[in-house]
Structure formats: structure tokens, C-alpha cells
């Protein structure tokens, strides 16, 4: 129980200061109020399941705009991927191979770092991503452990 309740593996003494992220925000800095995030401005990647959203061309993740059942074969930019587990609305999958330590990019901005290599189409979440600021507290998996 203790481990599942614990924050993920990001250390308390974070490696990045707030100012370190200035350079990484290249997609958004300089837009000076012009950035209008949200649906309607996303590029729809070719040969990709229409239930997946690309929020910014720089992103390496796609977001589920509706629930997708486990076992379905879905198209991710031309590759067919079989979903190992159900993908809930608002969750992310990898758009392309992501290496361990690589930044996860969503909305054109880094939202954390991969803690393991992530294959295209694989779920991108607390089990393989850590915050570069404060560890993520979650109860993912805690319910099953308590049984």
C-alpha cells in the first residue's frame, strides 16, 4: 500500500529550477498573448484514429477525446497499435517512440520526463513519467492492492 500511495520517483531536490524552463518554452514564449490552446487549432495527424487529438505539432503525445476499449487496433500516424488496456478520455498515448529521460511534450510545452522508454501507442502516465517540479501524488493502482 505504502508504495502505491507514495509519489512517483521524482526526487524532492528537483534537478530543474523554475528559470531552467525558460528555454524549453520555445513553442509558446514570444507569442505574447497569441497562444490560444484548445481544440480547433490542433493539426489532425494523417493516418491517425479520429478519437485521438494532437494539441500541438511539437507534441510527442496524443490525447483521447473519447474512451477507447482495450484490445482495439488503432492507427497512430500510420502504425497500427493494439491497446493493452482501456484508454480513458483525457489520457495520453505516445505519438512516437520516447526515450527514457526524454521530455514529454503536450500543448507544445514540456510536462515532465519519461522514466522509461515508451513505445508508440503506449499509455503515457504516472507509471512512466515524472514531474520536473514536484512529485505527483496519486492512488493509481491503490484500489486493486487493497483487495
Amino acid at each position: 500500500m505504502e508504495t502505491s500511495l507514495a509519489a512517483n520517483s521524482a526526487p524532492r531536490n528537483k534537478k530543474y529550477s523554475v528559470s531552467d524552463f525558460a528555454a524549453m518554452r520555445y513553442r509558446l514564449a514570444g507569442t505574447r498573448g497569441g497562444h490560444r490552446p484548445g481544440i480547433g487549432e490542433e493539426a489532425v495527424p494523417a493516418e491517425t484514429d479520429k478519437r485521438l487529438l494532437l494539441l500541438d505539432e511539437a507534441d510527442n503525445v496524443l490525447v483521447a477525446r473519447s474512451r477507447i476499449a482495450a484490445g482495439e487496433d488503432i492507427a497512430v500516424e500510420g502504425n497500427t497499435v493494439r491497446l493493452a488496456a482501456p484508454l480513458a478520455i483525457g489520457h495520453k498515448i505516445a505519438r512516437r517512440p520516447i526515450g527514457a529521460g526524454e521530455k514529454i511534450v503536450k500543448y507544445g510545452a514540456p510536462i515532465g520526463s519519461a522514466t522509461a522508454a515508451i513505445a508508440p501507442g503506449a499509455h503515457v502516465h504516472v507509471h512512466n513519467v515524472k514531474s520536473d517540479y514536484t512529485p505527483t501524488y496519486h492512488l493509481v493502482g491503490a484500489e486493486a492492492e487493497g483487495r
Binding site: 524532492r12 514564449a29 498573448g33 510536462i111 502516465h125 514536484t134
Partner: protein, 402 residues
């Protein structure tokens, strides 16, 4: 829904107008909470709201918050309920309320003779004030007289895609019309500070905005948790940076006119960041222990209404000002439609655009000034919480146009 021409408000002595005419019943220590709660029981659905401060130790922030809330434009009369021995300065609070032109009475339970006598005395005052307020005339009110806050809670992976950017579009429309709009929770802007600073009216304000987020990052790092709940992860959010990028979208795209702190009232129309993280060393625990603490702070800054974007499905409302519930997630909306004012999830299903939902949010707020009530008001939600904090006054760079 309504339009600007239909809005009417109650004119207060300071020139501000309220879209509600509430009797506020304020307890000044937890020991007086039950009596305050009992006083309002016969007045359910009649705009008699309980607010209060539970602590027995004095706190300048709590004192200022209670002053601002008791003199909020949506408040027409005030009853204060004191046990008698607490340290809250009830004399100062009563003076401030009286100076604002509002009827005010303080019941001291120890002097009144206990619970029953205090409840009877309190109910008599509220009944009398309610009758007077119900007879008060309203005056026309314009959109540029509105102050609107925004908060998100129970966020998930849909919040930053639908509900928050739609709220941002509504903010853009309100700012263009001259209203004051306030976004908040610097702990949920971690990672967005530089983009945000680029939108500041002046470089000096930009530096203040960045400093406020750096302060939040330090504060939360000391506490060991980000402003991130377990349900956020269930909903697909993986890190505080990801949550922040979504939360930041609530601010829209207008230039940022100023940085304020809880209880500061925006001096004019425009977009403001509310810095909710205390100044100085980490004291008193988490900056805001839940969403309602933030809502109370937005209202203390004069918000007539608060936009609340939720993905997982929050049900809360608030004392004093209506809370407009915007549901980002279409599955949640179908499950909890009775609690929601706006279905932003239809953006995700291709049934509406961000601009359309943004206009709907805008019109929903305006309709509140024309007699409409939110779902949480109809359901009787009047949540309120106020805890210990400490702040320094804002610096001269924070309001460049003032």
C-alpha cells in the same frame, strides 16, 4: 439567456453594485459556528449565507478577508456571531461593516445567555433584515461593473482542452467589454510563468508574475506536494506542469493588467492574477486546503460570480457569490448534468466550438445579473472555508495602470 441591458444590481454606498442581496451571518470562531448555522435554518433558499473563521488566534489575513466579504457588493446586511472569548477583533469588523452603510449586529453568545437565546435573537435580526432587503429597489448594471473570478477543480485531461480555454474565451470577451477578470492559483501555474510574464502590461509586472510562481514552487516544494490531487491522475493528468498548462488556459489571451492578493479589489477592468500563496516562510500549512478556499478569496476580491471548470465533477457552490459550473468532460456531464451550468465537453465531441461555449459562459454570467440562478445556488450549495495565512501588501509594480 440574458443580455447586458437586462442586468440589474443593488447599489452600495461605495458605488459598487451587487447581483445578489445576501444577509451574511459570520461566525468569528468555530465555537460559534453551530449557533450561526442554526440561525439560518429557517431561511434556506432566501439568500442568508454562513461565512466565518474557525481560529481562536488573531490573523490579519482572516480579519481582512472577513471585512471584504462582509462589505462585498452582493451583501446587504451582516450578522456577526461571537462566542465572546475568541481573539477575532469583532469590534473592528463591526465598525467596517457599519461604515459601509450596511445594517450590522453582533451577537455575543456568552453575553446573550447561551445557544437558544442567541439563535432566537439572530433569527429575529435576519428576518427583519431579509424583509428590508427584499423591498430594496435595483438599478441598471453594466457588464463593465462586473468582477468575475475563475477557478478549476477536480481537473482531468479534458479540463485544459475544453472547459478552461472556453472560460478563457469568456474572459477575453469580458475584458474587451471592460469587466475585471481574475484568475488564480499560482501553484497551478508552475511551468507557465514565462509565457504568462510575456503577457504582462509592463516588464516590471512580468517580473512580479514570475516571482509569484517561483514563490509558489518553493512553497509547495517545502510542503512536499504539488497542487495536485489523486483524482487528477485518475483523469489522465500526469504532472503538475501538465495540470498547469491546462489551468493557465483559463486566463484567456488578454494582456495581464495586474497582480493582486486576497482581498485586493481590481481598480478597473482588465485581467488580473490573484496570488494566493502566502508571503514569507512556510507557515500554517497548504496555501489553499481545497477549492472553496480559493473561491472565497476570489469573492473577497469583489467577484460577483466565479467560473468553476471541472472535469472529474465538482458539485460545490459558495456563500456570497454564485458559482457557474463548467463541465469539461462529456462523460462527467452526462452523469452529473444536474450540477452543471455549462456543458463544455461537447467541444470534445465536435458538437460546439470553443468560441461558442465561451459565449455561452459569458451570457450565463450576464444572466445571473438578470435574475437567473446557477445550479449550485438552486441546490443550496453555500460552501465556505477560511484558514490562516499571511501576506505582505502588493508592491508598486503590481498595478502599473493604478
Amino acid at each position: 439567456m440574458g443580455n447586458a441591458g437586462e442586468m440589474r444590481g443593488w447599489l452600495r454606498a461605495d458605488g459598487r453594485k451587487g447581483i445578489r442581496n445576501v444577509v451574511a451571518v459570520g461566525y468569528l470562531v468555530e465555537c460559534a459556528h453551530h449557533v450561526a448555522r442554526e440561525i439560518v435554518v429557517p431561511f434556506r433558499d432566501r439568500d442568508v449565507h454562513v461565512i466565518g473563521f474557525p481560529g481562536c488566534y488573531p490573523n490579519d489575513y482572516a480579519q481582512a478577508m472577513m471585512e471584504r466579504l462582509c462589505t462585498h457588493p452582493n451583501v446587504g446586511a451582516v450578522l456577526l456571531v461571537s462566542l465572546g472569548c475568541e481573539s477575532f477583533n469583532k469590534y473592528a469588523l463591526e465598525r467596517v461593516v457599519r461604515a459601509s452603510g450596511r445594517p450590522v449586529k453582533t451577537i455575543v453568545i456568552q453575553a446573550a445567555g447561551g445557544t437558544r437565546k442567541s439563535i432566537d435573537e439572530g433569527r429575529a435580526f435576519v428576518a427583519e433584515q431579509r424583509a428590508l432587503l427584499d423591498a430594496e429597489p435595483t438599478v441598471p448594471m453594466a457588464v463593465n461593473e462586473l468582477v468575475i473570478g475563475t477557478v478549476c477543480g477536480g481537473s482531468d485531461g479534458t479540463s485544459g482542452i475544453t472547459g478552461n480555454p472556453a472560460a478563457g474565451r469568456a474572459f477575453d470577451q469580458f475584458v474587451a467589454e471592460g469587466a475585471a477578470c481574475i484568475f488564480e492559483e499560482t501553484g497551478e501555474l508552475i511551468g507557465c510563468e514565462h509565457i504568462m510574464a510575456a503577457r504582462a502590461a509592463t516588464p516590471a509586472l512580468g517580473a512580479e508574475l514570475e516571482a509569484s510562481v517561483a514563490k509558489a514552487a518553493r512553497y509547495y516544494a517545502t510542503l512536499g506536494y504539488g497542487s495536485f490531487a489523486a483524482g487528477n491522475a485518475d483523469g489522465g493528468l500526469t504532472t503538475i506542469e501538465e495540470k498547469s498548462m491546462g489551468a493557465y488556459a483559463k486566463s484567456g489571451a488578454s494582456p495581464i493588467a495586474g497582480l493582486i492578493k486576497p482581498g485586493d479589489i481590481p481598480p478597473r477592468g482588465g485581467l488580473y492574477l490573484l496570488d494566493v500563496v502566502p508571503d514569507g516562510e512556510v507557515r500554517f500549512g497548504f496555501p489553499n486546503i481545497n477549492d472553496n478556499a480559493e473561491i472565497a478569496e476570489l469573492i473577497a476580491c469583489g467577484s460577483h460570480a466565479v467560473l468553476f471548470v471541472t472535469g472529474r465533477g465538482s458539485v460545490v457552490g459558495s456563500a456570497i457569490s454564485p458559482v457557474v459550473k463548467i463541465c469539461a468532460n462529456p462523460e462527467t456531464y452526462r452523469r452529473m448534468a444536474d450540477d452543471m451550468d455549462v456543458d463544455a465537453g461537447r467541444i470534445l465531441e465536435g458538437r460546439a466550438s470553443l468560441d461558442e461555449v465561451g459565449r455561452e459562459i459569458h451570457d450565463c454570467v450576464v444572466s445571473l445579473g438578470a435574475g437567473a440562478r446557477t445550479r449550485s445556488e438552486e441546490l443550496g450549495h453555500q460552501e465556505f472555508i477560511l484558514t490562516y495565512k499571511s501576506f505582505e501588501p502588493i508592491g508598486p509594480a503590481c498595478l502599473p495602470a493604478a
